[in-house]
Every structure is written in C-alpha cells, then in structure tokens.
Amino acid sequence: MASPQVFLPGAETQAADQGYRDAVGRLSRAVLRNRKATIGLLLLAIIVLVAAFPGLIAPGDPQAAIYEQQLGPSWSHLLGTTQVGQDVFTQLIWGTRLTLIITVSVGALCTLISVLVGVTAAYVGGVVDGSLSLLTDIFLIIPTLPLLIVLSTYLEGSGTVAIIAVLVVTGWAFGARQLRAQGLSLRTRDFLEAARVRGERRPYIILVEILPNMLSLVVASFLGSAVYTVATAAGLQFLGLGSSNEITWGTMLHFAQQNGAIESGNAFWALAPGAAVALLGTAFALLNYAFDEIANPALRSVRRQRAKSDS
C-alpha cells in the first residue's frame, strides 16, 4: 500500500494553491455565464475607471469655488453649481474615488472579521462558539444607524479612517452569522475528519480545507457588506457626519440638502449623487444576487429553467 508520505516544505501551500485555484476557476466561469453578474461587473468597471481617472472626464479642481453660486444645470455646468460656486459635475466625478475606497475597504475588513469570528465559532465550538455567537447576535440586534451616529459624533473631524472604523464595527455581524452556519455544516464532513485523522494542524485545516469550500460565501459576504456600506456610509455623510471637507457622494448630498437644493430648483445637485450611490449599490447588489443564484439553483428564474429543459 501507500508508502508513508514525506511532506516537503511548500507542499502545504501547493495544496492550498490548488484548492483555491479550482474554487476560483469554478467561480469565475459561473460569473461569466450569469447575466446579472456580467451587468454588475460592467457597472463596477465603469465606476472604478471613473475613480481612477477623474481628471479625464472632469478636468478642474472639484473644491475650487470659482463660479457663480447656486446655478441651475446648463451646458457649462451640467449639474449646476453649489452654494459657494463649485461645479457639481466635477465634484460628482472626483467624489467617486473616496466613495469607492470607503466602500471597498469597509467591505473587505467586515469580511475579514466575519470570517475570523464565524469560522472560529463554527470550528472551535463549545464555549468559544457560545460567546462569539452571542456577541454576533447582540451586534445584529443593536440598531446600526443610531450607534453609528453616536460613534461618529464623537469622532467628528477625524476623517476617512474613523468613518471606515465605525462602519466596520457595526457591519461585520451579518456575515459572521452566515459564515458560522456554513462552517457548522462543513464541520462534520468526511474530508475534514480525514484531515484531522492525518494529524493536520488547525490553521492548515482552516486555511486549506475549510476556506476554499467557503469561498463563494466569503465573496458573497464581501458583496453584501459592500451593498450595506454604500448606503450606510452615504446615509451617515448625508446627515453631516464624517469629514465634510473631503468630497464624497454622501457629503455632496449633505450640502445639497442643507441648502435646499431640491426645493430651490437645483434638484440635480442632490439627485445626481443620490443616483450615483444607487448605481454603485446596484452594481454590488447585482453581483450579490448572481452569487446567490450560483450558490442556490432553486432561486434561478423559472423561465430559464424551462428553457433549459425544453432544449
């Protein structure tokens, strides 16, 4: 029978690489075949490009108050000007970058904490699971926006990092619960038992055996947090929290609202950044729905299933 295996240094990481590569390959094929995912990716790509090269679309300083104040939309100012005479369109384009940075970093950090908490709780079990689950439940029940408002009022003026921090603190719980559930269902599978019998160490089992099998849920958790962040961050900035001297879609909304943009005939000043927030949310949500469909075929639309069974 099999000779005792010799583990070469690096064999572990090779196995991990293989596991992840398979999972990533399967995922990307599924994404390309799904229409919602394709549209979502396209929208996101456009937004990323705008965030990367804002100067190509709107040359000029978004902060420069050099125009006439409170102008309505015209050819020279597509979306009008602000209360101090900044060009709203230029602000919208330049605001993309920080909005996207906040969204992606909060999404990533939330997912990281969700994975740590969820997988640890599911895999270690016992008292650790009990207390981590309780912590997750408490954070799920406590209403997010009120807590966010209190936290950010204290941190007023501390800028983007503070906003990212408070959004992560309030946003990780939902993903953690889902990942724990998935982790629990994996826990009793044979291949994990086999790994334990082989005498693998815990970090190896978690990184190489469990995580690749949860990859689609980890991605879904990131997308879910991103959808949450887009709306929540903008909502917070809309209320005037978070640093208002940096331009994001949320801070634009705040100044528009404070100056009665909607009522005073300058509606695009408020509606354009609002629509931009909605668009970014839509891009992430489309990807998220697509992942749900890929992971759970029962949710796919009936028409497509019928079409498939006919052919």
């Binding site: 309780l134 439940d137 408490i138 799920l140 029940i141 406590i142 209403p143 997010t144 926006l145 009120p146 807590l147 408002i149 209190v150 936290l151 009022t153 204290y154 941190l155 007023e156 959808v227 887009v230 709306a231 903008a234 909502g235 809309f238 209320l239 005037g240 929290l241 909304l253 609202q257 909607i262 009522e263 509606a267 408020a270 509606l271 609002g274 629509a275 927030v277 909605a278 949310g281 839509t282 949500a285 729905y289 029962a298 949710l299 639309s301 009936v302 028409r303 019928r306």
Partner: protein, 323 residues
C-alpha cells in the same frame, strides 16, 4: 419555559450590552461630552468646561465602577441629563416620540401587510405577470438607499407636481387639535415620508415571503392538499402561506432596525420633527447626552419587538419552542 428564559436572557443581555457600550463610548474616545460639545465653540473657558463636566457627571477623578453604577441607575429612572439648550433630554425625546411612533408604527404595519400579500401572490403565480414585474422593481426597492427614494419622491410629488407639502409635520399656523382639518393636514404631511418608508420596507418582506412560499409550495403536504382536491385559495393561504409567514415574523426584528435607521434619514429629508430629526440636530449641536439617550431608545424599541416576534413565533409554531 426554557425558551422563555433563553429569550428573556438575550433581551436583558443585549440591553445591558447597549447600556455598557453607551457608557464606554465617551470614556474610550478622546475627550468627553463636555469637551466634545465645547470643541464646537472657539475659545474654551476652563471654568465653563468644568461646569459642563460637573453637569454631565463626567468627573474624571471619580471611580469608574461608581460612575457605572450611577449611570445604570440614571438610565433606569430615565435621567439622561440636559441637552445643549439646558432642557432635560427626556422632555425633548417625549416631544418627538409620538411623531416617530405614529410614522414608523403605521408604515411598518402597512409595509408588512402589503409585502406579505404581494409575496404570497407572486410565489403562487411564479413566473406570472406580477412575479416578473415585481422582481426588477423589488430589486430597485431593496437596493436603492432610503434617502435617495425620499429625495426622488420629494422632488417628483413635492416640487414638480406640488401635491404634498415639502417638510414638517403640520402646516405653520395650525394649532394641534382633533378637528378634521388638522388631522387631514397631519396625514398630508405624513404621506411622503410614510410612502418612502413603506416602499423601502415592503421590499424585504416581499422578497423573503416569496422565497419562503416557493419552498413551502413544493412541500409534500401541499401536494397532498392538491391531491385531496382542496380549493386553491385554501392551499395558498392555509397550507402554504401559513407556514411561509413564520420566518418573516422572525425577520421582523432585523427589518425593524433597518426601518428605524431609515426613518432617521427620512425624517431628516422631510424635516419631520420626530426622534430621527432630533438625532440630526443632536449631530449639528454636538448634543451627546441627547444622542446617547436616543440610541438607547432605538435599541429598546428593537429589543421589545424582537421579544414580541419571538414569542409570537413560538406561539404559532411549536417547533421553535425547543430551539
């Protein structure tokens, strides 16, 4: 019995956690309520700062444990200190409470009913006209931020069409009374914020109800009911919907947190003077005692609803009792 103990346990634990978070935030963050409020004004006078610190009870040389116990006692008796205009926070909150309670309460009931009903019908006629119309609409409703929908409605129905008032809870010059004219005025002012909340909240309920219905419809007991030749109405409502509605009740709590958060943004957009608007004014005035008390109020509201929803679920569905 065990169930009741567990649920009450989570209720009190979460309440305690919220209280403790509230206690710790000012102490972990740089500065305290007094410095935070005064940082807004230039040229702080040290004696003024000290006076404020004494007023807020953030005396630095006090034992942490002593002040913690004191704080818990104050919260239990509803003493949340004074706001920036030297009015007891409790008075300010009680002034805003009825407006939020009315707005959020009524819209939640409407949204839950509409959402559940549409979810039932759309799953029953899966792939039908309503279902195919609903799914993209639903997507928009659940994805678009609450304040964007609020701004859109304000622009279309308030500014362009001019059907509804733009802000506030009743017209200037009206005195609150129970006359028909005043009640109509109040309803007119509540329609746009209300519709915003209904529209954004119903989406989640349609979505979960539809998906639950889809799975209960494929259960054996539904097939059995069909085989027995029961009327479609009976199968739809008594067999499938009745079982599908249970997870919706449990999800009620999470939705409520979401709706309450949304109501803050909606009240701000429409300058509707409820608790959410107070939250915003607290932000601009750096009114931390007010904000912390509001945070506790919102948490308590969600917790009470979770408790009620849990007991309702247990009453309706015996299976959940041992969980």
């Amino acid at each position: 019995m065990r169930f009741v103990v567990r649920r009450m346990g989570l209720f009190f634990l979460t309440l305690w956690a919220a209280l403790t978070i509230n206690f710790l935030i000012p102490r972990l963050m740089p500065g305290n309520e007094a410095t935070a409020m005064l940082s807004h004004f230039k040229g702080v006078n040290p004696s003024a700062l000290h006076a404020l610190e004494v007023e807020f009870g953030v005396n630095n040389d006090q034992n942490l444990l002593v002040s913690y116990v004191q704080y818990l006692g104050n919260c239990l008796t509803g003493q949340f200190g004074l706001d920036s205009a030297r009015v007891p926070v409790m008075t300010v909150i009680l002034r805003g409470l009825p407006w939020t309670l009315g707005l959020v309460g009524v819209t939640t009931v409407i949204a839950f009913s509409i959402g559940t009903l549409l979810g039932i019908v759309s799953a029953w006629r899966r792939g039908g006209a309503l279902d195919s119309l609903l799914s993209p609409l639903l997507f928009i409703l659940t994805t678009f931020p609450v304040f964007f929908i609020a701004l859109l409605l304000l622009f279309i129905f308030g500014v362009v069409l001019g059907w509804f008032p733009l802000s506030s809870n009743y017209s200037v010059g009206e005195t609150p009374s129970l006359s028909v004219a005043f009640v109509l005025d109040v309803i007119g002012h509540a329609i746009l914020p209300g519709v915003t909340l209904v529209v954004t909240a119903a989406g989640g309920w349609i979505y979960t109800m539809r998906n639950n219905m889809v799975s209960t419809l494929s259960e054996d007991y539904v097939r059995m009911a069909r085989a027995k030749g029961l009327s479609p109405w009976r199968i739809m409502l008594d067999y499938s919907a009745r079982n599908a509605i249970l997870p919706n009740l449990t999800g009620f709590a999470m939705q409520l947190g979401f709706i309450l958060g949304g109501s803050i943004l909606v009240e701000y957009t429409f300058s509707y003077p409820g608790l959410g608007y107070l939250f915003f004014t607290g932000t601009t005035n750096h009114d931390l005692p007010l904000q912390e008390a509001l945070f506790l109020f919102y948490t308590l509201a969600v917790l009470l609803c979770v408790l009620v929803a849990d007991f309702a679920t247990a009453w309706l569905d015996p299976r959940t009792r041992d969980a």
